[in-house]
Structure formats: structure tokens, C-alpha cells
Symmetry: C2
Subunit: 442 residues, 2 copies
């Protein structure tokens, strides 16, 4: 029997664990699921005969070493910043590690030692990063095999709410880490367009959104991700003139979110003291330039929009201009907004989420220009088997099955841009209705 150690039994682990349990008997796997919250682990394993649920404290070096020693492969579903210690133990104890997180500098530094110890540290094997890389590489490979020359690659992804559960004016509910949604885009977005490097400061990011049309699913807003440049070398397309990675939202989201950014409501750099003595309206006013008239009027002037703009309607709907008291004592504007939106943007029991991924490739074959669009739309089944949990968890789970069946030869720090990974994983994802639809325009 082989032992798989899953660390972290949170929201995004459910489909992953279900897959492992579904294959456990046939593959002869023992699936050990550890979490700080043992009830979460028990819920996810549900007394399955091939599973163990146990209390696991990642900070406990002794327990960590013992558990990793007893495993054949480790899957860490913890937040990215917690992978470091696990990865170091894995390399030392010669165990493979799989994560759905971006490769950190700490992870990258383990590459050579992992190779020497015949260990695979497979990262970015979730949705975004993960399915984006795999589906992009498959198409890039195909275009290059036809002798095509890529001139532009746009890649977008969004974790959204399904149309039937889209019941608020923002078209957004949290199916993913709320803090990341509130702080999204802080920094400077970097991409390349027609051969020129472009830098887009946060203050203009949401005002500079594009409109993307996904076949059969209509239009979406898209704003640029922080880093579109480093993936040129990862994908082997160093000299591509245009490359942009972005995030999708329902139409109107970006213009309205830009109001929050402009007012300063997403600022996480300082704490408002005694915020609990303020109403939301007073809090918003403390960030506005002094002036006469209603808050709406002053915000409209500040943001160069009309008072009755749809974006203002969305802002009003949040309650940020209302007279409720803030329930936090000392908190940054971003924390105050997050707490409020976690109540307003809650994914309810009957709600379904939706994942949308959309790639656009522009290329020429024999001097003829073509555009290929490839789209993935996944609707969640319920609150547990969300589209997010499926698209994050299944690639990692499938990779583990391939690995334990000796189908992956790569070692060291790896992301799934290699054929031995993306080909079988994309194939199996289709069996789970995770399927891209392609259109070519000549």
C-alpha cells in the first residue's frame, strides 16, 4: 500500500480528497488527512475505510517529520507561505510534494537538492495557476507544431458565481479567499503589448479593464494580473510581442471597484483607531476630500462619474454609505470592507459558483493571421463540490495518481508545462466535465 498525506482539509480540499478516496481501494492507497481542525478532516474523510483523519499542527516539527516520513507523497493545501517547512522536510526525507500554489523563492531554492534526492516538488497544479498553464501549453505546442508564430497571448480566469446564483448588483460572491479579493491588484501590473513593456499602477488598474466575450456566456470585465511577464520564459515564448494575464469579473464590477480604490477603501497600510465608534458613512467620509453636499455627490466628483452611475448603485448596495456602526475596533480600511463584504457577498447554501477561463492566441501560419479562443466554464455542483474546489483539486489529485504509477519522470521544482503532465491530466479532466471549447477565426 502507498500512503498519501493531505495537509489541510479546508474548502478547496473536498474534491481532491473525494478523488483520492474514490481511487483508494483500486490503487491500494491509504489517504491520511491532517488539519488543525480535526472535525474538518473527519468531515472530508467521512469514515472511509482507506482514510485516516487526524489533528495535524504544521508548526510541530516532530509531528511533521513523522507524518512525512510515513508518506509516499505529500499534498499541501495550506496557504502558500506555509509550504516552506513542508518542502524542506520532503526533500530531506525524499518524499514527493504536490501543491496548487505559486512557486516561491524559498521553493525555487530547493530545486537542485530535490533533483539530487530524486524528489518531485510539483507546484502550480491547481486552477490558476494550474489548468491555465496546462491548457496554454497544449495549444502553444499545437500552434508551433503547425509552424505557426505566436504574436499575442491573452489568458484570463475568474472564480465567479453561477448565473442562476447571481443575485446581487456586483455579480460577485466569495468562492475564494476574501482577503485576496479585497487586496487584488495592489502593486503595479506588468505586461507586454506590441513589443512594449507596459506598467499599470493600482490606482488605474480597475479603470483600465477590458471587455472579454466568452462564447455562449457573454461579456466579462477583465483586469490585468500583477505579473504577466515571467510566464514568457516558463512557457518558452520569450519573444512574444503581446502577453497579458488577467482576472475576470461580471460586467460593471471593475468600474465600481475602482470607486473603492480611488476613495482609499482598499488601503491596508494603516489602522483606523476606534472604527467601532464610526458609521460606514462616517468612515467613507474620513477618506473623502472635504466638500459640500451628499457623500454620493462628493464621490461622483472625486471619481469623475455621474451620481446615478451604475457603479454608484453598486457602492450604495454594499451599505458603505449607510449609517450602521462598524463592528471592528481597530482595522484598516481593507479589513473594514472585507468584514462587510463577507456578509454581503456570502455564497449561500443553495448558491453555485462558476469558474471561467479564457485564452486568446493570435498567430500567423504562412503569413495568414489566425485567432484561437479557448474557453472553460465550470459550474459548481453544490456548496462543497464547488467549481473552484473541483478545478483546484482535481489537477493535483490526478497528478498524484500519475506520480504513484510512475508516470512522471521530472524531478526538482516543476510546474505543469511539460507534456508528460498536461497531456494525461487535461485528458482525465475531460472525464470530469472540465473541458475547453475552442474556436478558430481566420
Amino acid at each position: 500500500m502507498k500512503t498519501i498525506l493531505v495537509i489541510g482539509a479546508g474548502r478547496s480540499s473536498s474534491v481532491l480528497i473525494n478523488y483520492l478516496l474514490a481511487h483508494a481501494q483500486q490503487e491500494q492507497w491509504k489517504v491520511r488527512v491532517g488539519d488543525m481542525d480535526i472535525k474538518l478532516a473527519q468531515q472530508k474523510t467521512n469514515e472511509h475505510p482507506f482514510a485516516d483523519a487526524f489533528y495535524f499542527n504544521i508548526e510541530d516539527a516532530q509531528q511533521r517529520e513523522q507524518e512525512i516520513s510515513g508518506a509516499d507523497v505529500v499534498i499541501s493545501m495550506l496557504p502558500a507561505f506555509m509550504h516552506g517547512a513542508v518542502a524542506k522536510d520532503c526533500v530531506r526525507l525524499k518524499k514527493h510534494l504536490v501543491t496548487a500554489s505559486y512557486v516561491s523563492e524559498e521553493m525555487k531554492a530547493l530545486h537542485e537538492e530535490a533533483i539530487r534526492n530524486d524528489v518531485l516538488l510539483l507546484n502550480e497544479i491547481g486552477l490558476d495557476p494550474g489548468i491555465d498553464h496546462m491548457s496554454a501549453m497544449e495549444i502553444i505546442y499545437k500552434i508551433e507544431a503547425q509552424g505557426g508564430e505566436l504574436t499575442a497571448f491573452y489568458s484570463y480566469c475568474g472564480g465567479l458565481v453561477a448565473p442562476e446564483s447571481n443575485t446581487n448588483p456586483w455579480g460577485y460572491k466569495f468562492s475564494w479567499n476574501p482577503r485576496n479579493v479585497i487586496l487584488a491588484g495592489q502593486g503595479t501590473a506588468q505586461y507586454i503589448e506590441y513589443g512594449k513593456l507596459r506598467y499599470l499602477p493600482y490606482s488605474r488598474l480597475f479603470a483600465s479593464h477590458a471587455t472579454i466575450t466568452v462564447k455562449d456566456h457573454g461579456e466579462f470585465d477583465a483586469y490585468a494580473n500583477r505579473d504577466s511577464l515571467s510566464y514568457r520564459s516558463v512557457y518558452g515564448i520569450e519573444n512574444i510581442p503581446t502577453m497579458l494575464r488577467g482576472t475576470l469579473r461580471y460586467p460593471g464590477y471593475c468600474k465600481a471597484w475602482h470607486l473603492l480604490v480611488t476613495i482609499g477603501l482598499t488601503d491596508d497600510s494603516f489602522k483606523i483607531q476606534h472604527a467601532n465608534k464610526l458609521t460606514y458613512a462616517e468612515f467613507v467620509e474620513s477618506l473623502l476630500p472635504s466638500g459640500e453636499g451628499s457623500l454620493q455627490k462628493r464621490i461622483a466628483a472625486l471619481c469623475h462619474i455621474r451620481e446615478d452611475d451604475q457603479a454608484m448603485q453598486k457602492l450604495l448596495w454594499t451599505g458603505l454609505l449607510g449609517n450602521d456602526l462598524i463592528p471592528l475596533e481597530h482595522a484598516s480600511p481593507a479589513q473594514i470592507v472585507q468584514e462587510l463584504l463577507e456578509r454581503k457577498w456570502k455564497l449561500e447554501a443553495a448558491d453555485k459558483d462558476m469558474v471561467v477561463m479564457h485564452h486568446i492566441f493570435e498567430y500567423s501560419i504562412n503569413d495568414k493571421k489566425q485567432t484561437l479562443r479557448s474557453s472553460l466554464v465550470v459550474i459548481g455542483k453544490n456548496q462543497t463540490e464547488t467549481a473552484m474546489a473541483a478545478t483546484v483539486g482535481l489537477p493535483a489529485a490526478i497528478a498524484v495518481r500519475l506520480l504513484l504509477n510512475n508516470k512522471i519522470s521530472k524531478r526538482g521544482v516543476v510546474v505543469p508545462v511539460h507534456k508528460e503532465l498536461y497531456e494525461p491530466i487535461l485528458k482525465e479532466l475531460k472525464e470530469h466535465q472540465i473541458t475547453f471549447v475552442e474556436e478558430i477565426e481566420f
Copy 2:
């Protein structure tokens, strides 16, 4: 004989060292001046019989301990972040320390131990912080002694160029750390106005400047400093309804600097790779939204100004829209702008600098409203004895003389808001033509 150890012989130490040397024989002081650049130290001490110049490496713990052990008082003119190790040694070795820097958390933590060891850690005894605190406290004390009730306190300070040396459209040349000027205001300015806390994000800071009139010296732009709130308790005016600390510039500076902020030219959060292959115009364009027409036209549209606005003239003058190549290889926008402006805003040999400080106190005495304005204007003598070096160095130097004559009883971490400090220091500053002019409006 008493020994004074001066650490750091840079630009801001010259007037400080001159003062110490001028009093050395009478007071029987040995003045030891240490710097990483021994030539700087030799220049400043100029073979004075009561002085030593020596190579001093603050990172060398052994040398640091030896030098501090041999001193009666230490003056650190290093950048603030380097004071920590010196302060710890001073407390341990029971030596007094004087700095012109803001009290850091690290410094604050030494308070109790310093008191136990009978050590004074006197900080913020320069210009701003320093003279601002002392002159404010003197007036606050006077108003309170008259039974007055403070309703507002505005305090502004600027390190500028003297009018006769004001030869560029910005009215600015560097008389102080250039990096701090480029990054000024990043974060969120916090102040209180009519009893309401106000938060002003960096993106709007320079667009929200005020105009301040200083008697006999005309108008100045003023933008809010990061933190105006914490000084309420330091000054003992916790309940004042309005308090704002700000920075002065010649008129027009703030509107033009706001263009740089809006474009993203002061961003220090990422590096532009191979910047040396770009012209300044290409660099600026990489930060602008895509569009048609000249850079000027696109900047005017982005910033909501006319193409022929004075602010645009200032931007053009810098060369940022010109075709020279950038001389840095990998650099943040802020670093690129700093390198350029260090050439354009250089204080030339014949130039004189100017320091302007302006306080406005609004208060009522027996229900009668009064406004007191107190202004300090100091013009530098030459490139060495600048107004900046005099106003930063003299308060610290005078404090050291008081301390060595046992005139200061306070111990622990102290800032000069106490009468035993501000009264004699302000008095002696007048002998050096550092004199405030007051006007009262009834």
C-alpha cells in the same frame, strides 16, 4: 576633559561640528568625529587641536563599544534606521545619546532601561523634528498660561532653495536626502479637522495641497505629512479639534508633482528591467494608458489638466518627456526619477538654501477668537553652512552643551517638548539668527 563622540560627518553635521569646536577650548571638550569616509571627518574637523577625525564603521561592534565607552555623550547623525545598535550600546555603557531623528519603536523600547541606567536618549532635536516641537511647545505653554483654549494647530516646514537661487520652474533643489523627497508622502496622511479624523491617500495627497502665506515671504504650497495625530499626546493637546502637520514647497510644485504620482513615476515597488535601453519618453509612455497623440496630450487627459498647464511645463523641463537614454540598468521608476532630478535639482556651489517653518494656532481666550502665526525663515550662508545644516545641527549641539553642564535632568527616551530643553535652546538659537516672528490676529 569631556569627550563628545560624533558619528557621521555628512552634510548635516557641518554646523553641529563647528559649534562643538568653537566651544571646545572653553568647555574643555575633546570632539571625536568618526565616519566611514575618513576624508569627510577630516574636512569637518580641519586639524582643530581639540578634535580627532577617524575611520568609524558602525557595523564593527568592537570599535563601536570601544568608542562609546570612551565618550561622555554620543551624537549620532546617521540615518535613523542605524541608531538602534548605537542606542543599545549607549544604554548598556551608561552614555547619553543625542539624535535628530524620529523616535523609532526600537528606540522607544529602551526607555525604562535608560532611566534605570541614568541615561538620556534625546531624539528629534533637529529642525523637523526638533525646532518645530520646541517652538510649538513654547507657544502652547504661553496660550495655556493665558487661559486660552486651542482649537486648531497647523505646523508646516520646508527645506527649500533661497529666492535668489531659485532658478528653475519647480522652485526646488535638493538640500536634503533626495530619496526622501522622491518618496515623500507614500502611505496615507492622517490628521484631524474640526474633530473628525481625516485620511488622505497618496494618490490624492499632492492634489490636495493648501496655500500658506508667510509674512514677507509670500505664498507656499503645503501638503500633509503622514502622521499629524501622534503629536497630539506628545504636545499634551490630546483633545484639539484640528491638527495638521505639513511640508512646504514653492507655489506650483505640488500640482506638478501630482502628475508624477498619477503617472506612476514615483513608484518604488518594482524594477524596470533594461531601463538603459529606454529613453525617458519611452519610460513615461510605458506607464501611460494606451492612446493616440503626443505624450503631453495623453498626460493632460490622464491628469485632467490642459496641455499648456504650468504643471506640464515643469514636467517638460525635467526632461522626462525627452529622448535621452536612461543611465540606469534595472531601476524602479522612483530611482530613475531620482537619478535624473539629482542632476536637474542640484544645489550649485553659489546657491543658498532656505528653511521655512510656519505655525498657525487658533484659540479662544474668554470666548474671543485669536490666531497666532509664528514663522521662521533661515537662509543658508553657503554650500557648507546651509540653513538645513544650521537648523538641524545647532539644536543638537546646544543640547549637548546643556547636558554636559548638567542642565538637563530628564532621562530615558526624550523629545524636546520640556521647558528645561526648549527654553534655553530656543534662546540660544536666536543668537544664531534662528528666530521666529509672531503675528496675532484678533
